[in-house]
Symmetry: C2
């Protein structure tokens, strides 16, 4: 018998036997080496690796998928989950969200991010693209959870030079701080918040820093019609063109939302190899009025991935739910019951996200990082098994995820994550304390 | 120690201690008597009933809610889950769904409905409004699962008198068959499929049978724009007016979808005390092009409830997910982030549904039937607990449901349902056999 500690140890090799890996009932074994990479897959490899494996997981009746990748979130906003909903946007921000955020501490962000990681692991996500404050604390939390994260300090200068200098310092400090952690699972991105909150000078600095350090650039783009109209009024061009002029559109860029892109902008993003992060739940909840034009982006050959946004506007981090809502919203909004089928929704949440964050190939091919999840089929939404992928996208929720590996390290097994109770308790304490401070009760 | 059999026995009284019952951390005990009704609730009743209770359930850290009610589904279509998605409507129906349905047997419907009941119980639903074929088998399955069901034979005459007579016989037979089961949890409804598939004579007969027997009338209404336009062309009036002329709009009527109602029709349905069943997931997946106008229905004082539709067009039966999608879709479609807040979504799925199906009050008040569910709060989507109801609607999924009572009988406890494995296995076998028969492989 191994102890729980041993069982979840890193650097162990794992033989997974008998998992469904295809659309139908195609069953394979998967061997994960001690280097955290998928070493071999096949129908008859079990014999070869049974002796060598440090642990063997019987996955008969389970589905193996690449781990999911969330390309736009504000992880620590888990602490604000359910604090304010069903409000007008401005009132919601100015009366509820911002006053609470003004009282956030690094410790809050650490435990809020631990809670987010717990939730993401439980629903099959192994990597995420984060933008918020106290991002070194967020990175520490992610390392402690065993996940992969890309962390951007939300850079907002509102055209003010002094603010801009402070944001540049904060971005450089975060870069140095994460580099010093010396953990390949943690990356920095530069995070110009949006074309309407960052000056062209600020955007240009961000673009140059991203190029110089070869790191991601994470930005909100064309979420509302108003910001598009304001951009045209102020700069004489639409926001994608402004970003392009400032050098912000490259293969390192992830642009979240993109609801109000026109067809030309879709082609521009495709040409520049930008990855769009589609956030359908958030867009619906905040009633932004238009859906990311997947059909134009697809026709242009653009890269599209999936994100949950933060827990104030979703209110969860379940990418399996997000795949379903994406597939539904595209059909509904663009009036086509064939748009964004289940297979493509899965691609958005796996390989497209992995490519955007440069965390691996997002497939189960030998040589890839072992970012891999197992889902149970012994639950009503997975029965009957006419089509694995349809069941995952349209019928299941994150609860179907049973076991999670990130770079070969087992983060969850049989829905058990070591230390879960403490994280829930600490996050609840932080949230309670935050509300108390914001309301002047402490 | 009681055995599992005893533990799940009916006619046992239950004391539930320490459950959250309000928006914040209001904790109460609930005592369910042997008559299946809620006998008492309060903060200090535990002492009074501790000795008398046949079983005591510690619900500290759990939320108690009225059981959820699904007002529109085709339960046995679980067997078709994932069989065909992402297709154009006509092709999907004529090439996939209808050919398969032509091979359905009563045994298929029994096990498909058992699977549906399993899935509904696991996601907190205790009663549902069903329309399909072999409905006496569906009713038996529901009785065996311990749930409440209302069963309508899908009545389609396409203007053909001979077909109409056959449908009338089938409806009368179902009524007699369910009456003979002598189980108050099972009701018959008359089920005219839709204004475009049933002649005015057929509709009038259905209305009269509903009145005579004092049973529900379950119909699809205004799901697509085309059927509204066709109705105007054929009958010179919109479908709600046609139904009203045939006597089909009463307080016993549940009208599913209602996407294309105009404002006058909303007022008509309100005046006639019809309950609308909102089915947002299905409407999005099939790209019907418009969302049920909740704001007009609400302004008119109409009754609105929630349904999942069948598993071919959803593809699950999770009303907790449906509440979220309803709250999101209303906001998105009608361009208002304050429309259909969490509290109202919960009302749609509980008391509004219970009133529509006449299964009780759908509240936790003493004297009501003990249709009650417990949800865990010790899972990431429920933390922090700023607002129970927001977390349930926007963050949780059906997996948060932990324990389910229907008329005081415990159907699930700690996510265990006796006999689950056999149901999953039999449903899978039926689905596999059905596809084999339809493809001529047997």
């Amino acid at each position: 018998m191994t102890t729980e500690q041993d069982y979840f140890a890193g650097n162990a090799s794992t033989l997974i036997t008998g998992a469904y890996t295809g659309e139908q009932a195609q069953v394979q074994d998967i061997y994960i080496g001690r280097d955290g990479k998928i070493c071999a897959t096949g129908t008859d490899i079990s014999r070869d690796y049974r002796t060598e494996a440090d642990r063997i997981i019987d996955a008969h009746g389970k589905i193996a998928l690449p781990g999911l990748v969330n390309t736009h979130t504000h992880a620590a906003m888990t602490l604000l989950r359910g604090y304010a909903d069903d409000m007008h946007l401005q009132e919601w921000l100015s009366e509820k969200i911002w006053p609470l955020e003004a009282h956030l501490t690094g410790d809050d962000v650490y435990w809020g991010t631990r809670l987010a990681c717990l939730e993401m692991i439980r629903s099959g996500t192994i990597a995420f693209n984060d933008m918020y404050f106290f991002m070194d604390d967020a990175a520490r939390a992610t390392a402690d959870a065993g996940m992969k994260g890309t962390f951007a300090h939300g850079f907002i200068d509102l055209g003010d030079e002094e603010k801009r200098e402070a944001e540049i310092r904060a971005t450089k400090e975060l870069y140095a701080s994460i580099a010093a952690m010396n953990n390949p699972a943690l990356q920095t991105a530069v995070g110009p918040h949006a074309p309407y909150t960052v000056s062209p000078e600020g955007l240009a600095w961000c673009a140059e820093f991203s190029r110089e350090k070869n790191i991601g650039l994470h930005i909100h783009l064309a979420e509302t019609e108003r910001e598009v109209n304001d951009c045209i009024a102020l700069h004489g061009m639409r926001p994608a063109a402004l970003l392009d002029r400032c050098g912000c559109l490259t293969g390192r860029t992830v642009a979240a939302h993109c609801c109000w892109l026109n067809e030309d902008e879709c082609r521009l993003l495709a040409d520049r190899e930008v990855t769009v992060s589609h956030n359908p739940v958030s867009n619906m909840k905040l009633a932004v009025g238009r859906t990311m034009p997947y059909h134009w982006l697809k026709a242009a050959g653009a890269r599209v991935s999936l994100g949950t946004d933060g827990c104030s506007s979703n209110n969860n981090l379940d990418l399996i739910e997000e795949m379903k809502v994406a597939a539904l919203l595209q059909k509904y909004s663009w009036n086509s019951s064939v748009l964004l089928p289940a297979d493509e929704a899965l691609t958005l949440a796996t390989s497209a996200g992995a490519r955007a964050l440069r965390t691996g190939g997002g497939t189960l091919a030998p040589g890839e990082e072992a970012d891999l999840i197992l889902l149970t089929t012994r639950t009503p939404p997975m029965v009957p098994l006419h089509n694995c992928r349809s069941n995952i996208v349209y019928a299941a929720s994150g609860c179907a995820v049973d076991t999670v590996f990130c770079s070969g390290r087992m983060l969850m097994h049989d829905r058990v994550i070591p230390g879960e109770a403490e994280i829930l308790s600490m996050a609840q304490q932080c949230a309670t304390g935050l509300v108390a401070r914001a309301s002047g009760r402490t």
